[in-house]
Amino acid sequence: MTDELDHLKSALRATPAPDASTKAAHLELAQKSFAALQENTSDTRQTNKRRTSGAGLIEGVGKMLNMLTARTALATTSGLVAVGLAVVVVLPQMDGPEPMRFGTPVSVTEPPIIVEELSSPLLENTAPAPEITADMRLASPPAAKAERQGISVTGAPELGIIAGANAPTTFHTDMDVQFADAPPNTESFANEPASPLKVVADYPVSTFSIDVDTASYAVVRQSLMAGHLPPAQAVRIEEMVNYFPYTYPAPDGEAPFQPTVTVTGTPWNADTQLVHIALQGALPEIDTRPPLNLVFLIDTSGSMNQPNKLPLLKQSFRLMLAELRPADQVSIVTYAGSAGQVLAPTRAEDRATIMAALDNLAAGGSTAGQAGLQQAYAVAEDMADEGDVTRVILATDGDFNVGIHDPEALKTFIADKRDTGTYLSVLGFGRGNLDDATMQALAQNGNGQAAYIDTLGEARKVLVDQLTGALFPIANDVKVQVEFNPATVAEYRLIGYETRALRREDFNNDKVDAGEIGAGHAVTAIYEVTPAGSPAALNDPLRYRAQEAESGPADELGFLRLRYKAPGDDTSQLIETPIPLQTAAKSEAQFATAIAGFGQLLRGSVYTGDWSYSDAIALANAAKGDDPFGYRAEAITLMRLADSLSR
């Protein structure tokens, strides 16, 4: 080595010792950072308990040895001690799931390394630290503890550093493997603030898209059954109302659905009225339906490996399989975990093959799901024949790592495929990671339904009882527009549909996507309107605006316009009907009202006054009607639960 290098080397080796107080502050910062990290990771905390007991054992042995051996003796016997200790420590680890993770066994096989480690501080004169730490460790544990307490006092005033501990500086390490902390609950719900009260004189027109999803009701039910009120964000009132089948008048002419308007008094406000708009989809001849092509796109990420996820999914699909015709075709593609097509398109009559493929599905594995969605659509396109109905059914617990990462690109992809005739439905399973917002967005863009499946009963409802409706669209892009008559209505508000609001001009724009009605679907929307001159009006007339006599027919509350496209059509058709001042109350509308009221109570609405859960229960009971499937009885049970839980 040349002189220059030697010179540089000796200069470099002469580094100053760290400042004691700075070091203390840094060590404390690291401890805080460490503690903060443990708090953020519940599963690590569980592990921590186990480790801490191990650490306690080590410390205990250390204490014992400190009592038994002098400092000099310890150094000479350390190799032997290490072996003995390793055996003691390893034994409790035998029961643990990962006995190799704790590195102590290394000491068993290579005790010389430990001796070397121990002695290295004495040989390495350039780094003074190990000597100090060795001293600390050789000191009796209570003394070391006292020293640590002293450190925390001196470090405490360094508030800036402490704050920094919560947001540790990040820097890259090539050796690093990306480690994503898994927060305990990553559910997200799509919702908007409740639609505000609108003054008819200012905003006479209300426009929205219909919604046939039911996911929100199932999430609400699951929460209540689990003994807690659902988060207000999870409650979408229109999805709760539309969860139930209603016996609205069915269409008898050409139109795919029949609107029915009911105007009744408001149960929670004597001075307002409810305008109840119901659309009943036609139920085409089931026997003559076109063949179905279904591609199941199934999430097999590790998190799906819970009884209420993949196993429930398998059972659900078994139920559904029984409903399919021999000519229908089924294919299965998986993503996240084991990826790829696991069942080539198979006719439904070959039940044994399909069942076997379903049974072989397993969650877990580490293969990254690649292009699962694209593959599912490619399979679907191969299966499609002229006149067939083709649909991709995505089943997941919230892992939407389907191959396209950008949410906007994902939406565009699905919307493009929708335009080519392949639709997408989303089935959510399990709670905890449910990405309700993404589910909604995907199903909306895919002309499909988003349903949440928490029980086999719900699977039966979605996949068996309503199979035809869920899978056969009869009207696309159904938009509702109501123009209120300022002569008879002062104020109005739409209950629910917050996430489905459309701009007024979008109603006539056929490029703007909206909801679909499936065969036999019933869709309900409810407005609460304040008649002109009612004491319930919340907005006073304006002082500085000329009060003109509102001109409008005195016998109409407003005018209802509906637009829809027949499946495959690009141009919409219009249905128009006036809304009368009052109609006879019907029990179907009353039940929908009870559910809408229930939903508002769960959301903490400001408009329901002192109307209570027990009022909702009474109303729902009175309007329960036929209820062949028991859905309404279940809803009343949920109201009772919510009533108890809210006290």
Partner: protein
């Protein structure tokens, strides 16, 4: 007795949430990190800041420690990368400072001059590009073999050897300058 547990075992236990293991591990290596940080930066305040960055981020970093490399090798790499990040941030900062006008640049230069104390080490290290400085800090400062340094930096051993020859050239040039002065 924690002192007889290997670094790697402690690191894996700490990654699993063992606070005692983490504390032992850090107190065992703090001075090494600080000394290395000083060798990388040549500046006490910089070295302290760098060490602080590492202390704050180490718990999270540790979770990616696989136990495949020696802990010290891994820690050197974490430190080198943290130093790179600090340099990058400092560069961004300097660029932002340019916007304030020439007087600020001049002031920064003055501060830089003062901090680069007029001793031979500082001059020598200043004369080296950052990649050579990292290499020198590892090979000469930490007394790593060229193979070990190569592992830390994630480059080939040949590159280390070539870099060390470059260092020699730089130092010789510096020496000649001193002779002439």
């Amino acid at each position: 007795m924690r002192m007889s547990t290997s670094d790697e075992a402690l690191a894996l236990a700490a990654a699993q949430g063992d606070g005692g293991a983490f504390s032992t591990l850090l107190s065992r290596h703090y001075d090494r990190v600080f000394a290395f940080a000083f060798r990388l930066t040549g500046h006490r305040a910089e070295a302290e800041d760098l060490t602080q960055d590492i202390c704050a981020a180490l718990p999270a970093k540790l979770r990616s420690f696989q136990g495949t490399a020696r802990f010290t090798t891994w820690l050197y790499r974490v430190t080198v990368n943290a130093a790179h990040d600090r340099r990058r941030r400092a560069a961004t900062h300097a660029r932002a400072a340019e916007g304030w006008g020439d007087w600020e640049v001049a002031r920064q230069a003055e501060i830089a001059d003062q901090s680069a104390a007029n001793d031979w080490l500082a001059q020598a290290m200043q004369a080296l590009p950052t990649d050579l400085r990292d290499t020198v800090a590892l090979v000469l400062g930490e007394d790593l073999t060229q193979a070990q340094a190569a592992e830390v930096l994630g480059i080939s051993e040949g590159t280390i050897a070539w870099r060390m020859s470059q260092v020699k050239k730089h130092l010789r040039a510096l020496h000649q300058k001193e002779e002439q002065a």
